[in-house]
Symmetry: C2
Subunit: 344 residues, 2 copies
DNA sequence: CTGTTAGCGCCTTCAC
DNA sequence: GTGAAGGCGCTAACAG
């Protein structure tokens, strides 16, 4: 007997294949394949018949089989440092929307830094046949990433880090511009002693945000190194770090935090210490996460166009996939926007 | 010439295959396959030689080719209603950790409700060959989901909704227990007029949380329907809804919100209205998201063991995948824990 | 212990 | 316009 859409030993119905469709429609499987691919040279009559059978059987082509022969999986790999990061979640949602429009899906994973400093995770994505990779943010060693980019045979985009690496597209905030805007704003509101709460999660890479803020503060105030604490970006750690910062430097009248989570921890610490915000002390974050609107007072933050950046990342990958060209190694700097709310 | 690891037309190096490895090690590709699978009947000597060549070439097996023949992709599909939901992000991170341990990866997607009310998205996951699906939370029509579960041939788990659907494992909070704990706690702290801020994002399915809370309030206070507002779970919408609720029902002295995001919006609204929390009004959320620790005062919330539930979901899928059995249709109710903080 | 044969489901290249 | 081979990279089932 020929193949037959029926019941397998396990009791589950076997999914129909193009052969099943072909037999039922009285054509070869090749013709079915042509219909699926919207090939022009198919008789209108044949096409309709095949499409009917496809609908009848609920046939859907096996993407893995397609990928095996076309070498195109219609999937992208997304490697995040921490999926619980809200800014990542928003970016992810944006990437997914753009990808879906074009028939792509996303394999999302957390970088396992213990394993090869993250390269192992990227290699694993390759074995899945992804057509491109987004790293968010890139904390892989530059040299290793460059080597990987060269041998991996698929385009790579990193979000959140402005660094020119051959074969890698970089999409990031204009940190220098952002820092200048924040410092200007704080000075304009009468602040003079800016303290920083930075992220030391990834000591192996330089903190562009930190460097940019320090530079902006030096330029504006002529000071040298601003008082700085570094901590993991959790509420509890940020509260503790902010308390340390304020205790050690009682003259600090403004805190710039690595991101909104850190800023919210800092804000809570200020309240606990009995400081009035923004009168005694200002607080600024980065990212523009929704929860910043719920604090008292609402958090001033450096808004990132997560959705726009997410779309740009996927579009860059799609572009490379379409014309087979390797990524240009370009750096896209996105204009920041300071959302002035209650904490400044 | 035989196959040769070299440069393709596009300039990218072709990934080596088991044939390449076999040729170089002087064995058949089948032997390489055995080494990969840790098959016992391979000469120690041969195994070592093959492993050397594998390392030398940087060979990694093509997962799609493996999946095509084994009918096991070592992947699970995760369908979320909204990836930007922080509770989902945490669950996702947990699922990913457990899955990775067992060599599985996750294809994460948002349910496209416009397309077949979500079934289309699930069908797409099937074409990718996923070995199981997690729906979070399930907002697909019950009858449709049941039909899908029957024909899809892979196990399905839904998180966040306690409903017995044949062929679907349900992992959810014990809503009745949670509601009783909250109401008891509010009564114990002297509150008498509980208002609800619920989620009407998915009008097509009953709100277990709402029903449970209403039941608990009726039981404890003998009241009928508590004052309720429904809104999308954003900060802004929640602020507005809370304001409406309080304005319309000035005697309300406690608000129970659908989740922490809604609760944070409500808290902000209370502050804005000049109400003292918890003295004038209490606020309770659900989920235990980290940001609840940063509000002033910190948010009282119904803690969910996201990580535990995530692990249970993946483990249920792994179990089914391992012994080929369909899911039992069981309902796992997880014990809630009330995290009493400053807002009550 | 190892090699050979036969596919998994699909697309590409050629014939007709 | 359509069909018949051939193969993507891998594993299962036999041989030996």
């Amino acid at each position: 007997m020929g193949s037959q859409t029926g019941v397998t030993r396990s009791g589950a119905t076997r999914r129909p294949t193009i052969v099943d469709v072909g037999e039922r429609a009285g054509v070869s499987r090749q013709t079915v394949s042509r219909v699926l691919a919207d090939h022009p040279r198919v008789a209108e009559d044949t096409r309709r018949r095949v499409e009917e059978v496809i609908a009848e059987l609920g046939f859907r082509p096996n993407r893995m089989a397609q990928a095996l022969v076309t070498k195109t999986s219609l999937s992208f790999g997304i490697a995040s440092v921490d999926m619980r990061n809200l800014h990542f979640a928003e970016t992810c949602s944006g990437m997914q929307a753009v990808a879906r429009e074009r028939g792509y899906h996303l394999v999302i994973t957390e970088l396992d830094l213990a394993d090869d400093g993250g390269i192992g995770t990227l290699e694993t994505l390759l074995t899945l046949g992804v057509d491109g990779i987004v790293i968010f943010p890139n904390i892989v060693d530059d040299a290793e990433l460059e080597a990987f980019a060269e041998r991996c045979g698929c385009p790579i985009v990193m979000i959140g880090r402005a660094k020119r690496i051959p074969g890698v597209v970089s999409i990031a905030l204009d940190e220098a511009g952002a820092a200048a805007m924040i410092v200007d704003h704080l000075l304009a509101t009468g602040k003079r002693h800016i303290g920083l709460l930075m992220n030391e999660l990834f000591p192996r890479i330089p903190h562009e945000r930190y460097l940019a803020l320090r530079q902006a503060i030096e330029t504006a105030l002529g000071e040298d190194t601003p008082p700085t604490e570094a901590n993991e970006p959790t509420i509890a750690e940020s509260k503790a770090a902010a308390t340390r910062l304020i205790t050690a430097h009682p003259d600090v009248d403004a805190i710039v935090a690595f991101n909104d989570t850190v800023a919210m921890g800092a804000l809570a610490a200020c309240h606990r210490l009995g400081l009035r915000v923004p009168r005694d002390i200002s607080v600024v974050g980065y990212d523009g996460i929704p929860y910043g609107a719920a604090t008292v007072p609402p958090l001033t933050t450096m808004l990132q166009d997560s959705f726009g950046m997410a779309g740009a990342a996927i579009r860059a990958l799609l572009e490379c996939a379409r014309n087979g060209s390797p990524p240009s190694g370009e750096v896209q700097l996105w204009k920041p926007e300071l959302l002035k709310r209650g904490t400044t």
